[in-house]
Symmetry: C2
Subunit: 378 residues, 2 copies
């Protein structure tokens, strides 16, 4: 049990988030000292980039600090359903409990959290010998229309939806069931997963099996925290961006390594990636370098942030807030090259514990396994 006040716990839970769905529900749980059970689920689709590694695990650090019981679901079935890693279930499971778990532990070390305090749950282990789980999948489905299920996945038109393989639609029902079957009252994901959480909240009062309750046995809806997406480092395919762009299209992609930094990348790789990053002068909104300053350097590392500008550009400067840094960049007082150098130095330093974790031969071998698996499949 946390010794912090409810307000302090809520502040930790809310910081660096895009949204807290069911904030009042969560406040009530905190106020009644109901144990808070968190989970975030991951598809095992490739190497762990800074979006999953630092942004998501940074929130897990906050949750742990707020006295929350944290769980990472290694979503091997969802990975399979979405045809990742060639849909090879044995490989998916091996990578999930091997490389992926170690990469998450490495990330937790980087953000300053204790990996031992986080529970890792393999989807298969949650679903096996657990008919109640499948009852909940059916109950979620009974209480959700087809059109709602379609809206929860990334399907564009009618024609595309007709030809979608049906398992893609079972996916959100399983995602909602994951929450109830684990007794989760604080679901967590990137903003792109919010629709599954909306479904979970909608059906919470309608299901019978695996009902989520408070300490008094009253049915509660799971709250949901969404962290913002981390921009990819590459220039978007269309620039300047159209007005109606979906920001999700700009997120970092595991399948395009040049858009991403992975938690175990060595200093040279980090330097190379950031040096090549898209960083349009004066542009602060869709600028990945500034976005990473905001979410990583300020969001995780904290202020003040020192940037060693070249003497020609004005010499060293310290920013107390991200807004100060963005303002200077917008006015041309912070050169892209100087910003990149400062970001690079911060990343190399901040990721040192993650690299250290991957320096042990056992863990290094796991990284080699996934790299080999990914190159075979390309």
């Amino acid at each position: 049990m946390s010794t912090l006040s409810t307000a302090d716990r809520m502040a930790l839970i809310e910081r660096n988030t895009a949204e807290v769905m069911g904030r009042d529900d969560l406040l009530t749980l905190l106020g009644t000292s109901t144990p808070i059970r968190h989970y975030i689920g991951f598809e095992i689709s490739g190497k762990v980039h800074l979006g999953s590694g630092l942004v998501a695990m940074g929130k897990v650090r906050d949750f742990l600090d707020a006295g929350v019981d944290c769980h990472i679901l290694l979503a091997d079935w969802h990975t399979w359903i979405n045809d990742k890693l060639g849909g090879d279930r044995d490989l998916i499971r091996r990578i999930a409990t091997g490389y992926f778990t170690e990469a998450m532990k490495a990330s937790l070390l980087a953000v300053g959290a204790d990996p031992v305090r986080v529970h890792f749950v393999l989807g298969t282990d949650l679903y096996a010998n657990n008919l109640d789980y499948w009852s909940t999948v059916i109950e979620v489905s009974r209480n959700t229309t087809l059109s709602r299920m379609l809206r929860s996945i990334s399907i564009l038109g009618r024609e595309q939806s007709d030809s979608v393989d049906f398992a893609k639609l079972v996916y959100p029902a399983m995602q909602a069931a994951d929450i109830f079957a684990q007794g989760i009252n604080l679901a967590h994901a990137g903003t792109e997963q919010r629709k599954a959480h909306v479904i979970a909240r909608d059906v919470a009062t309608k299901i019978r099996t695996n009902r989520l309750t408070d300490l008094d046995g009253h049915t509660v809806k799971p709250a949901a925290v969404h962290h913002p997406l981390l921009l990819g480092l590459r220039k978007p395919p269309v620039w300047p961006l159209p007005e109606d762009v979906d920001p999700a299209a700009l997120k970092m992609s595991k399948s395009d390594p040049s858009s991403a930094v992975f938690v175990h990348d060595d200093p040279d790789t980090i330097r190379r990636r950031v040096a090549k990053a898209f960083c349009p002068p004066g542009e602060t909104r869709f600028n990945p370098v500034l976005n990473w300053f905001q979410q990583l350097v300020f969001g995780l590392g904290g202020a003040p942030v020192r940037v060693d500008r070249s003497q020609a550009s004005g010499g060293p400067v310290t920013f107390d807030t991200y807004e100060d840094l963005a303002g200077a960049y917008g006015r041309g007082d912070l050169h892209p090259g100087d910003a990149k150098n400062a970001l690079t130095a911060w990343l190399i330093d901040y990721l040192e514990p993650a690299r250290g974790h991957f320096a042990t031969p056992r863990v290094a071998a796991m990284l080699e396994e996934i790299e080999s698996a990914l190159s075979t499949r390309r």
Copy 2:
């Protein structure tokens, strides 16, 4: 193993059916002496009428005679998904393993089969501690498009399909998985279930878990046998029938007892029901009394069939085939009243073993339980 020839076994399997899907596949299995595993699944939706009791179990008798290993799936989950018996899962399970099982045994006795030779499987027992079953549900789904899944359920328009609860669409995926999870190479149902069997045959070569194989380990598609629907006794809502009528709309309905005879009905009830049956003079196509003569009296009892016409109508007559009887009826040589009396007498006699089974107090109490459950829900 059957001592009959392949041709004789096939003749038994095919008799009184509307369709054998994958007939060549089945012949190959018979030719290689592969054990034939049959199943038919039933929703536990009410009392057992002659469609399930005599038509379906009549085919089970044929399958047993052909050396087939027969299974009845008590589909409690499907019943729940289709909101039958109020969607009360405990009640559904109790009725499934109590009343419904006894009604099927009674029906088997009526058609002259040994109930001990038929395996009864409760859906819950098949699905519990059986993660491979759920893998197969996902694999069927992965290999089936949404539009195909929609076509396999009774959904009319686009608007109706959008608002359908999603569990209704998981239903056919589970139905196909039921086949593979039980290793069924001879699926059996009424014609209205054929679309689920089409899905099962389509995905048979694509799934990995629970693949159906022959004795040599080669993947095979399940054959599927469909018995024809038994017409309900009531006059159709629109008469004469429009040209494009769906015959399924004329099937016997459990929810309208006056359209049905149940396997345990007493002689007076049978007399009353048949006396009130729709039996338009001269009409042989959509005439339930003639349909019952064809499927039950000739189909199950066999020829010759004696009808004790009144002296005014020509006196006793014997028909060697159903076509002879229908011909006489069409020409006006067989009066509806005489046909009804002969059908009534046949039913009372043929159902005697079923009534006898329900005469024991333990089984009679089960009938009372479902009647009480059904009346509460009306």
